[in-house]
Amino acid sequence: MRGTVQPAPGRSFPGADHKAPAVNLRGGWALIKSTWAMWIQHRGFFFLLAFGWMIPPLIYMFVWSTAAGGDTVSGITRGEFVAYYLVLILVNQLTYSQANWTVGDVIRSGDMNTWLLRPLPPIYNTLSTEVAGKVVYMAFVIPVTAVLALVLRPELHVTPRDGLVFLPTLVMAWALRFFWGYWLALLAFWATRADALLALQDALVFLLAGQVAPTALLPDPMRSAATILPFRYMVGFPVEVLSGQLSSAELWVGFAFQAAWLAVAVALFVFVWRTGVRRYSAVGG
Amino acid sequence: MAKAQIIVRNLSKTYRVPEREPGLMASLRSLVRRTTRDVEAVRDISFIIEEGEMVGFIGPNGAGKTTTLKMLSGLLYPTAGEARVLGYVPWERSPAYLQRISMVLGNKSQMLWDIPPLDTFHVLGEIYRVGPVELKQTLDELIELLEMEELLAKPVRNFSLGERMKCELVAGLLHRPQVLFLDEPTLGLDVSMQGRLRRFLAEYNRRSGVAAILTSHYMADVVALCPRVILIHHGELLYDGELSGLAARLAPFKLIRVALRTGNGLGGNGDGFDLPAGVDVVERENGRLTLRVARAAAPEVTAHVLNSLPVADLAVEDPPIEAVIDQIYQDETLEGSLPEGVGR
């Protein structure tokens, strides 16, 4: 809190020496470790969740590779489809947004008060569940994907350029999905139910983020929507980069869009957080 | 002589509980080999309950009360022994049997949450095949007895705990069961509501002649409703009889409360005062002493105290029932005789 009270000369408050710094890395790290220790206990539960999220990309992988057969669909071979979707599974899991239940539910249940009372920026809580979750999910998804790769024989040719650009786009995709999901979850400060918005968000991600098909294969109106809207840049874009489906021009245009949407997402997050917390404290949670 | 409704003979229930030690190695080991432990929840209990009787089951948490109730209501299979309720074997779960019994749980609800209670009652009426005329009659009677008229229009989720409990009672009684199992029905209720529910249960028992088993941690419930109690501890039946006899049999001691005159020059609390053997000082503070003494020795000790201490006031009391129960719960090696009195 800003504006500390000054103790009278000659005396000091007992806890004055143990002031938590604004950033409080130690606190944050402790929280991450403890959350992870808790979640790893329930890994069976989380593995089942990851299993469920893997199925739609797998379905489309099978469907497209059957459609390609021995030939291609729009220049993409069976093996390339398999590679695309296996990478998609990994990227999707890595960027998946849990904010609705790690933040949204916390606000709805009133537990946000506990977070706000601690000398720790609340974003640490979200980050700790994020780290915990991703580690546990990937512990399941990576081996399974590896096995599938052995069985299904993907074709992946990565050019140096694509390989170098992939990592930044992946990190930005994670950040974009994280902050986008976060500000949406923060709407819980105002509305008690998130069903409608969640359903809409899921549908748009499903259609435009590369699950139904690689962006290039979408029909025109959908392809334009996908290029302009943020959803492709949360999942599909890095995958397209790595699979070499993009020309230089397309790659840099996409990169620009991704950066722009990331900036928008962060701005929205900061704005919604500030207004939301003020309202939350005023209304009394 | 009233008809026997509940007959229990040598009933036992043992659970197999998996054992698991903490740590990574243990969890890996548990994948291959499971170690289990046998827990005897109920050991060889027998009793008979007759028509119209309301019996209290008391005992500490984990004593086996709820397990026994669940066996009698058919929810659990016993490991050994037999039971007959209304002539049926409970765990065969015949619909005719289930039609005639009812269980009300204090901490769980069977009401549908978002609709007024009457709607749940009608569904239950259908499930229990209560004819519409009879259902209306029973509901009217119960609602009047419980003073619930204003509650009928609200959805259940807006009810207070006490109001919800009233609904649970109606839900449990609308099919006019012959045997009623009540598991902590007054849990969490405020004092006045508890009193009201007790009066209702007593009145209902009187009017309908239903045989009932009540478990409760509030001794006031048991004292008010159950002329007969059964004490279960560590799965064993320790006592079956009148409540007043419980103290006499299991904790045959009395309490002598002494108030000392001030300025008695004895250290203010009777220090240095010698007591006969077998007398316990339970409390001493501010010039007041509480002594625990064997029932038989009470008169003698009283005389001794009056002679040797500067007594301002003295009273000889039966121990409060809670203290008796408390003592029993704490005592691992209960033999039904005077505790050795070495203090806790």
Partner: protein, 263 residues
């Protein structure tokens, strides 16, 4: 019949429970619309790139999607909500109120299957029928009485298989209370969106006989197109009966186990 009266009572009570929240209606509509939209677009995108895959063209795949939506709607109508109230995440087995259900003088499997209804699923049913109807018209098939009969039988078998699989999963919760049975089932059910022919050979076998999602949608769709052989129809009916018997036995076994283990 007492059981029919009971079902009517349950349906009425569930409807009242649903209508208690007005927002439910609009959100439900949105879900139905999104479900329809994503389903149709998913198929459309595929067939925007190719004319035909393994003998299935766009209208045929759309017809299959229609069956899928119908099946999903029937599941949401009563099978899903009832079993979920028992074995789902906040279900009775998890919270401990299952004892009340066990105490009722009505068969537990009956209660677990018919207890809760979600009448808004009728909207999804209508949408599914719409999709199926549109596709059938586009396919230009003649709807003979024989084909319609075959379709209805196949659909009946499909619903029975759906019920049996969900029941079996619910039974598993009696052994392992944390098991996310709806979640796992949803994943597998998704595979029924597309004709089994679109999956590779080994997966096709699995999806026809082991986890018979193929039976659930492909067979009825083929029946309507007049492509279903009699042995296949009989096979699906037989499979449905066998799965029903198996799932019911598993459920009863689970109940017995629950009654000897819970404290």
């Amino acid at each position: 019949m007492a059981y029919l009266r009971l079902i009517r009572r349950f349906a009425v009570a569930s409807t009242q429970n649903e209508l208690a929240y007005r927002a439910n209606f609009w959100i439900s509509l949105l879900h139905s619309a999104l479900n329809l939209g994503t389903g149709v677009l998913g198929v459309a995108v595929l067939f925007g790139q190719v004319e035909m895959v393994r003998g299935w063209d766009f209208p045929a795949a759309l017809a299959l999607l229609g069956v899928y939506l119908i099946l999903g709607a029937l599941r949401e109508l009563f099978i899903g909500p009832s079993l979920e109230s028992l074995a789902g995440m906040d279900g009775e087995i998890w919270t401990g109120t299952f004892d009340f259900t066990l105490l009722h003088p009505v068969d537990v499997q009956f209660l677990a299957s018919f207890r809760y209804w979600r009448p808004l699923a009728l909207i999804d049913l209508a949408l599914g029928l719409g999709v199926l109807g549109t596709a059938t018209v586009q396919l230009g098939h003649t709807l003979t009485l024989e084909r319609v009969a075959a379709f209805l039988i196949a659909l009946g078998a499909a619903v029975t298989i759906l019920y049996a699989i969900l029941l079996a999963f619910s039974a598993l919760v009696l052994w392992s209370p944390g098991f996310l049975f709806t979640w796992v089932f949803n994943g597998l059910f998704q595979m029924a969106r597309y004709p089994v022919a679109l999956y590779p050979g080994w997966l096709r076998l699995v999806l026809t006989w082991v986890v018979p999602v193929g039976m659930m949608t492909t067979v009825p769709a083929q029946a309507l197109a007049g492509e279903l052989t009699l042995p296949m129809l009989m096979g699906s009916v037989g499979l449905a009966a066998a799965l029903f018997a198996g799932a019911s036995s598993l459920f009863r076994l689970g109940l017995r186990r629950y009654a000897s283990a819970s404290s």
